[in-house]
């Protein structure tokens, strides 16, 4: 519940800061309407502490038995017959982040692996910090399926009671995690950019409103506390050679009837844009300012000369300059290359949240006030249509 006490002086400070337009000043008193999400921004800005949010304590579940930090292991197809699947890098990033949480809590870090056939996966999982690997090997786990995978995870969580569980915010993780959270009635926070322990609880930080504000989220009353984290957000730890994890084999009762969605066809282009920009060291990206598809093509040359991959803003993709698989940003791919060189991208927040973790950002744009310059290390104010062709020439000469 949110309440405004008599202390309210009608100063109006809370009205403009409300992200949801939920406050009206009625008879010089702040009044909340139904748009209120109880986010608490107004409480922070109120100079006279007139606004209070009371959180009713729901009947506390017994949470003392929940221990251990779990990481969902995601496998991806390689297109290679002898090693058809490999562990996705985001899993190692989650183990790296999970290791710190587990150490702080004094609990085990466990990887959860569902597969039809183990190819010695525990070795890498151990080297990246897992103490234990809960492994379910079953023929029905030959490919990801929402119903089958969520039922296995729910079973494991119910019997082993972890306190925290992390998933990659991938197409698979974002399909699986909410299903599990919904079944178990536990909290799930999407796309966390930082995880920490605060008073024994998992403090999950995430951007909201297209990255315009940050929110810290807690799930104090339910376990496990679950988060998804995008690839390339958590820093990858150095693997410890020879560090081994204990394998705990688990069985699952599965049959075909659980598979309510069937795969009729799967087409993967192993050289496709998404896979490549996600792991690229150098990305040369362009936006609306590139004007035409032909001019945009010059970025391919720059990127080739710098040993990189081409990225594109949402606008450039919408205008047909580049395929959607190359889109960087909130509705595209999150990237963190060593170099992000971008031309004619003004920097809508949705784009910025997808590339701001890059090591060095160099932006070229004709508008000196373009928001892209707020995240760039180097900004060049100039006309991309003049600069790009000349840069192609200069780079060619240099080679």
């Amino acid at each position: 519940m949110i309440e405004v006490s008599k202390k309210c002086i009608g100063c109006n400070k809370c009205v403009p800061v409300c992200p949801f337009a939920a406050i009206n000043m009625i008879d010089k008193k702040a009044t909340m309407n139904e748009a209120c999400t109880l986010c608490g921004v107004c409480v922070q800005v109120c100079p006279v502490q007139a606004i209070t949010i009371t959180r009713e304590e729901a009947s506390a579940r017994d949470l003392s038995g929940y221990k251990g930090v779990w990481v969902y292991v995601e496998l991806s197809e390689t297109g290679d017959k002898t090693h058809p699947k490999k562990i996705k890098q985001v899993t190692f990033e989650l183990l790296s982040a999970g290791r710190k949480l587990a150490d702080e809590l004094g609990e085990d870090l466990c990887a959860v692996l569902l597969t039809d056939k183990n190819h010695g996966y525990e070795k890498e999982l151990g080297e990246y910090g897992a103490d234990k690997v809960y492994m379910v090997e079953h023929d029905e786990l030959f490919e990801y399926n929402t119903d089958i995978f969520s039922s296995v995870i729910v079973g494991l969580v119910t019997s082993h009671k972890p306190s925290i569980m992390l998933y990659g915010a991938t197409i698979q993780g974002r399909d699986l995690a909410p299903r599990v959270a919904s079944t178990l009635y536990v909290g799930l926070t999407a796309d966390c950019t930082a995880l920490a322990i605060k008073d024994g609880l998992l403090l999950q930080s995430r951007p909201a409103f297209g990255g315009n504000i940050m929110a810290d989220i807690l799930a104090p009353r339910s376990r496990p506390q679950m988060s998804t984290v995008r690839p390339n957000v958590m820093k990858l730890a150095e693997p410890v050679h020879g560090r081994a994890a204990v394998v705990v084999r688990e069985s699952a009762r599965l049959d075909k009837s659980l598979r309510r969605v069937k795969v009729l066809e799967r087409k993967i282009d192993h050289g496709a844009g998404t896979a490549r920009i996600e792991n690229a060291n150098v990305i040369v990206s362009g936006g609306r300012g590139m004007k035409t598809k032909e001019k945009f093509k010059q970025l391919e040359e720059i990127s080739k000369l710098l040993g990189g991959v081409v990225g594109a803003s949402r606008a450039a993709v919408d205008l047909g300059f580049k395929e959607k698989t190359h889109q960087v940003g909130q509705s595209g791919t999150t990237v963190s290359p060593k170099l992000y060189l971008c031309f004619g991208i003004s920097g809508a927040v949705q784009h910025i949240v997808g590339m701001k973790a890059s090591d060095v950002i160099v932006a070229v744009n004709k508008d000196p006030n373009a928001p892209i310059f707020n995240v760039a290390r180097y900004g060049i104010v100039g006309d991309v249509n003049e600069i790009v062709p000349k840069l192609v020439e200069a780079l060619k000469k240099g080679k």
């Binding site: 309407n33 139904e34 409103f209 929110a215 192993h270 170099l339 927040v349 900004g379 840069l391």
Partner: protein, 263 residues
Amino acid sequence: MHIAVMIKQVPDSTEVKINPETGTLIRAGVPSILNPYDHFALEAALELKKKHGFKLSVISMGPPQAKSVVQLALALGADEGVLLSDMAFAGSDTWATSYALAKGIKKIGKVDIIFCGMQAIDGDTAQTGPGVAQQLGIPQITFCEHVDVDGRRVLARKQIDGGHELLEARPPVLLTMIMGKDYAPKHPSFLAVNGSLKKPFHVWSAADIGAEAQYLGLKGSPTQVDKIYPPPQREKAAMFSGSGQEGVEKILSVLRGENFLGE
């Protein structure tokens, strides 16, 4: 068949600006819009309605002003609109929202296909769709680009890393849609807007849908916002100006300085 589309009214986050001094959102003049992903979901559903003559209901949850997005969906061709609106919903996280929407859909009746956008642009969680599917105990296909119905088969093309899958499910099923190239958001004509005012529109409270208070709002939400704050500020960029050759030289010197040109 009966299709339901779940839609949400959101602030147009491309219009949201930040006050650089206080780090707070500048909300003035930011319009409320139909979540763009939901608009694609609606178009996919409308196409099926047109092709097969299915009935189409839209459902939203939000404050009374969210009525406008439901009205827009009606003007675009939906047959029936529902808005779940009640102070008891305030503060709901994705779990509690999924619970309420699932209750609302049950009240609509026997629904065969449920559509929604893969995520809303204000929260970006992509959790509500799967949450509703689980609450209803039905299968889901997330991140769809295209959906077709062939008899009792629902066929969906789903985006996956570096490619796509063609998936099949039997109704009831829930589908979440990306903003793919197969659908384009349309605007209603003036006549359609007028005509939509006569279509059935229900506003339901928590009691109307039989939702239990303990699962709603802040009390029913497993997650809680601990704090909201401005994102950390970055150091200012080193700025250079210069079109043409001058700009090129700057870029080259920056790339050289950061060791991206090799030797």
